[in-house]
């Protein structure tokens, strides 16, 4: 029996059901969400984070492209407002974008800012974040959106090592991480290393969602759509 947690994407559980599991994302396992640009990877991950928050599972969210304000606004548009989770501090965001236009980025106990080109600083803050979300709950989720940007701004192998360390930490703490990556955005070897590091691989190509690998089940796929309510399978 492989324990799973709810994915937050309608239809995903049916797709991943098996004799050994109820469907969803296997708990405490790591997942790579990848595919060409603009296929809904961020949306999938945000739905995943939100579902957890609804179930009282804190989320450690590392964002590289959208600052906290953009994230808030995007989630609101999806019908999944996150304001109250920021307030009750179950959503912990590490914002690595540099919002030059907004001056000094807001920082509270659970909205932390860092810099995309300083992976060491990001990791330190991840360490603090893991400790923070872990104190009240061993079950938590984590999202990195996205690995592509990290790879663009830093030496590739360093990011691979940093991601490995990140996955080890989240796993040790009992969390379930998701990493987003845009296909072909880095060199082939780096991409293969990313795929090797995770337990599950999900590909979204705009039309079809393919489970390329997942603990407990074989390859599956299904068409999906991006609606104004988010992704639906």
């Amino acid at each position: 029996m492989i324990p799973c947690i709810e994915s937050g994407t309608p239809g995903f559980e049916e797709l991943t059901k098996s004799d050994d599991g109820t469907g969803g994302i296997p708990e405490n396992s790591s997942t790579l969400i990848y595919g060409p640009a603009k296929t809904g990877k961020s949306i999938f991950s945000n739905q995943f984070a939100y579902k957890g928050l609804l179930n009282d599972e804190p989320c450690l969210y590392i964002t590289t492209d959208q600052g906290i304000k953009q994230l808030e606004s995007m989630m609101f548009d999806l019908g999944r407002p996150i304001e109250k989770f920021i307030e009750n501090k179950t959503l912990y965001v590490i914002d690595t974008t540099s919002n030059l236009s907004e001056g000094k980025p807001q920082q509270t106990k659970n909205i932390i800012s860092s810099h995309i080109d300083n992976p060491t600083d990001i990791m330190v803050k991840v360490g603090v974040g893991v400790h923070y979300v872990n104190t009240n709950n061993t079950r938590f989720r984590s999202v990195i959106d996205s690995a592509t940007t990290l790879l663009t701004y830093n030496e590739n192998m360093l990011i691979i090592r940093v991601l490995k360390a990140y996955l080890m930490r989240i796993n040790e703490a009992g969390g379930t991480p998701i990493i987003i990556y845009t296909e072909d955005s880095a060199d082939k070897i780096v991409e293969t290393m990313l795929k090797s590091m995770v337990d599950n691989i999900v590909r979204l190509d705009g039309k079809e969602l393919t489970i390329e690998a997942m603990k407990g089940i074989g390859k599956r796929s299904s068409p999906y759509q991006i609606t104004d309510q988010g992704i639906v399978i």
């Binding site: 060491t120 600083d121 990001i122 990791m123 360093l158 090592r161 940093v162 360390a165």
Partner: protein, 391 residues
Amino acid sequence: MKKTHIPKLDDFLGGGIPEGSSILFCAVPGVECEAFGYQILNGIIEDGNKGFIFTNVAEPDNILYEFNQYGWNLEKYLDEEKAFFVDGSSYSIGLPPMGKYSIDEISQIEGVITKAINDVPNGVGVINNLSTLIDYLEEDKIIEILNKWNKHAKEKNTILVYIFTKWDYDPKLIKDIKNSVDCVVSLTSIEERVIIGQGFMVTSASWTKPSKNMVLFFVLQPGGVKIYIPKILVTGPYNAGKSSFVKSISQKSVSVERMALEKFPTTIAMDIGHVDHNGFVADIFGTPGQERFDLMLDVLAKESVGAFIIVDSSAPQTFARAKDMINKTQAEAIPKIIVANKQDLPGALPPEQIRETMKLNKNIPIIPTVIKENKGVEEALNTLLKLLYGD
């Protein structure tokens, strides 16, 4: 001269390491070497000097932990500023650096180590380890940097200790590295299918003619590098000449009766000797030949690094018993040789015939001897040593 605080090493080096010298610990992969660097650093700091550790293989945190395991208090030295880290490992895994100096790019290493040397005049710097640098810098650059560091250390009277794992690099590179330092200590393994022991020996030293002795060691936690005096077993059927053999190879020996061994409440006669042959030091244990002492043979075989099995060449009826004893020592995978004694007696079988009769494997040497006339004894000893150490 600074003491290394490694047992026996100071003796081999003529008292210690002169200030400003460089020493390379060159280890075969699989042999423990880090402890040497840490033990020297610990000792020199305790003697009242300063030191630094450059690391590119372990985070400073881990090294602190290791020091604790050895029973040495690095944290105190760090607090008192007698020691500091040069962190060359954290940057490559995205961890915040820990230490007085750190590098975030390989090109900085030359300058940073030079600064560190400046900070510990008359002290010590440990580079752990050199092998990991080789892949990041070109071969001639490595030699150039080594020479620069060593020259600088000489000016500041700082001792530099390099830890180096001798992977299968280009032999010329290894030679050049060895020639760039004042002293090379080789760390090697004693093998019989698997590593059964580790040894170190000084292969070169610019200030003294080093003693070419190999010393077996192990690394204890707590404790650090400790010398290990191996046991050699001398066994064989009754009356084959074991006692004589032990007396013959030992500088001093004693026949002990009624040993106070808790496991064996009976009265037993056992020969114990101590050999010091060309720098090889060992304790010799000659067992009684009777079957009722086989339990002891079993125990001693477990603790021995090698064995002599003495047989009476003129008494083939005892060969079966000898074979039995060989099997007991075989089980422990230790190197062994057969000493075919009493070659002077009528009816004594030559070694090849003994091998055939006993159906012995070709790789177990058989040395013919007449122990009471001291014939063949030295050859037997040298043969076993060759099995043990390979040279």
